[in-house]
């Protein structure tokens, strides 16, 4: 039980925070917060592949799409199930979405992870594009219209919708964070690091690097699927174009900005990347044109040139605080 102490305490703290947020901020900010948590899950999972295993994937949005479509389709086919089971139904659907995405991750990863660097980036990008084209042609999944009117998270008694969504999303958020944290700090996860640091050395130690890479890919795809399923129920409309190349790049930027190999960095970056475009909206009224994406891409280049390790580098938030304390002591 000791292993669950910190996650449980954090969960309770987040639930209380949810109550505070419900009464203190307006709906617009509430939605932003939910999106930050959702993108946090996506960017943390991508960090496992990009940051910890050193494999560059550009198709993470594809796995989100798989998850989102699975969850949305299930909730359309079994609407009654959700009404009777409340959050348990959503949980099962998310789980199914994650497993579906993990299966895709396995199928994509097995052939493509033999490739390295640039090639892998292009293949994963290709996977995302192929998936988009396929989704555009499947009529039961709405083709280009996508799926709309997806069931949102319910109200439970006196608990309002925001609080329930917040509790549900932070539940998955914590599962994602703590399992990834534990994985990367154990023997199982050290193998990922060994592949990143030196693949040849890892091979000569008798590790099957392809197997390790596929594992990391499958775990990441699972959580991407979860995050996609959350997206579907939060935004309640999904189309194939949403989960395109831009979404993948967006998540990659979160990982890079936060620091490859730092989960807390990914979370901070996810928050930054979600809030920043909203703040820059006011800039638009001054300049008259939408400069947000220009600033976004320019800052990506500048980060790479001037701070290639991202905000935190490989340090976690707790390490940064420790370092800062030591400096000031």
């Amino acid at each position: 039980m000791r292993a669950f102490k910190i996650p449980l305490l954090t969960f309770i703290a987040l639930l209380l925070l949810g109550v505070v947020l419900q009464f203190s901020v307006n709906a617009y900010i509430q939605i932003l917060i939910l999106q930050i948590l959702m993108f946090g899950i996506a960017s943390m999972s991508l960090n496992l592949v990009n940051g910890f295993t050193g494999q560059f994937s550009l198709g993470h949005a594809g796995f989100m799409a798989v998850g989102a479509y699975t969850s949305a389709y299930l909730s359309q086919v079994f609407p009654g199930f959700l009404e009777h089971t409340h959050l348990l139904g959503f949980f099962l659907f998310s789980l199914a979405a994650g497993c579906m995405a993990a299966v895709f991750g396995y199928l994509v990863g097995l052939p493509s992870l033999r490739l390295k660097g640039d090639y892998l980036a292009i293949v994963t990008l290709g996977f995302g594009e192929i998936l988009r084209v396929i989704l555009l042609n499947i009529e039961p999944l709405g083709a280009a219209r996508g799926i709309s009117g997806i069931v949102p998270y319910p109200e439970l008694g006196f608990l309002d919708r925001f609080w329930v969504s917040f509790a549900y999303v932070s539940f998955w958020f914590l599962i994602c964070f703590f399992s990834l944290w534990r994985i990367t700090r154990g023997r199982f996860g050290r193998q990922f690091l060994s592949v990143r640091e030196d693949e040849v050395a890892a091979l000569s130690l008798g590790l099957s690097t392809t197997k390790i890479k596929v594992r990391s890919f499958v775990i990441a795809a699972f959580f991407a699927g979860i995050s996609g399923s959350i997206y579907a129920h939060l935004i309640s409309i999904i189309t194939p174009t949403i989960f395109g190349f831009m979404m993948s790049v967006n998540i990659v930027v979160m990982v890079v900005l936060g620091g490859m190999g730092s989960f807390t960095g990914s979370i901070v970056a996810a928050a930054f990347m979600t809030i920043m475009p909203e703040l820059l909206r006011s800039l638009q009224s001054v300049t008259g044109v939408d400069l947000r994406m220009v600033i976004f891409s320019l800052s990506l280049i500048l980060i790479m040139i001037f701070r290639p390790t991202g905000l935190f580098g490989e340090l976690e938030f707790s390490d940064v605080i420790k370092k800062w304390k030591r400096k000031n002591a």
Binding site: E129, L136, I301
Partner: protein, 300 residues
Amino acid sequence: MQDVLQHLINGLSLGSIYALIALGYTMVYGVLQLINFAHADIYMMGAFSSFYLSRWLNLEAHPGMGSLVLALVASMATCAVLGVTIERLAYRPLRNAPKLNILITAIGVSLFLEFTAQVVFGADPKVFPTLINDVALIETPFVILKSLDVTVFVVTLLALGVLHYLVYHTRFGKSMRAISHSLTTANLLGINSNKVIVITFIVGSALAGVGSVLVGLKYPKIDPLMGIMIGLKAFIAAVLGGIGNMTGAVIGALLMGLSEEFVVAYLSSTLRDALAFGLLIGILIWKPSGLLGQNSIEKV
């Protein structure tokens, strides 16, 4: 079956355009081992520069060789300048950084060009002026050979001829090939690698400029995102032929153009984009080094 010849012509003409762009990818990859994601957007900028030049000089009123050459020169110059600027400002500071960082920078540059173009030129598509009258040169019941297709072939062949001369018969070409063999050794032998890399970017980008005008003539609709798809396909063509290998890039591009034309003609047009990526994944699984590439074994 009588359309086959016509599709062959169309496919070859599409393929030669891919070839011009694929060469830029393959040359830069040869010297820097970098996928220059921005290449596709350099190409887009070339199309826009020749579009604005022809509007400014009202070239559409006098279609012919002169107008075509003017547009080509404008586009090539813009692309070359842009290519050098990008190399100097974005890639050179990262010459010794991990490859992942350079790749992300390349994506950043690509996005920057796309979004800047959307702000400056507007996101709506523009109609590229007709610089060459499209008349049928040979007309038989089976096949029509149009002047546009002939122009595309001739210009491509000229560009390839110049490139061949540059790479295999000049000092620059020799140093470029040396660098793609081994950058460190080339440096040790007194080759100014930075200079050669800059010239590589100039040549590669200028080829993309040629390609952009030809695409503008053949498919006269240009918009800021026009580079993405054609760039990816050209890149896949380069991988198909064996990246870093210039003959391979041309062969890969022609194969790509032909297969795309035939898939659209005989199967389904929605499969057009999926085909390219399917081809890529197939190639990478069965022969990652490409048709003409050489297998390299990693040594410790």
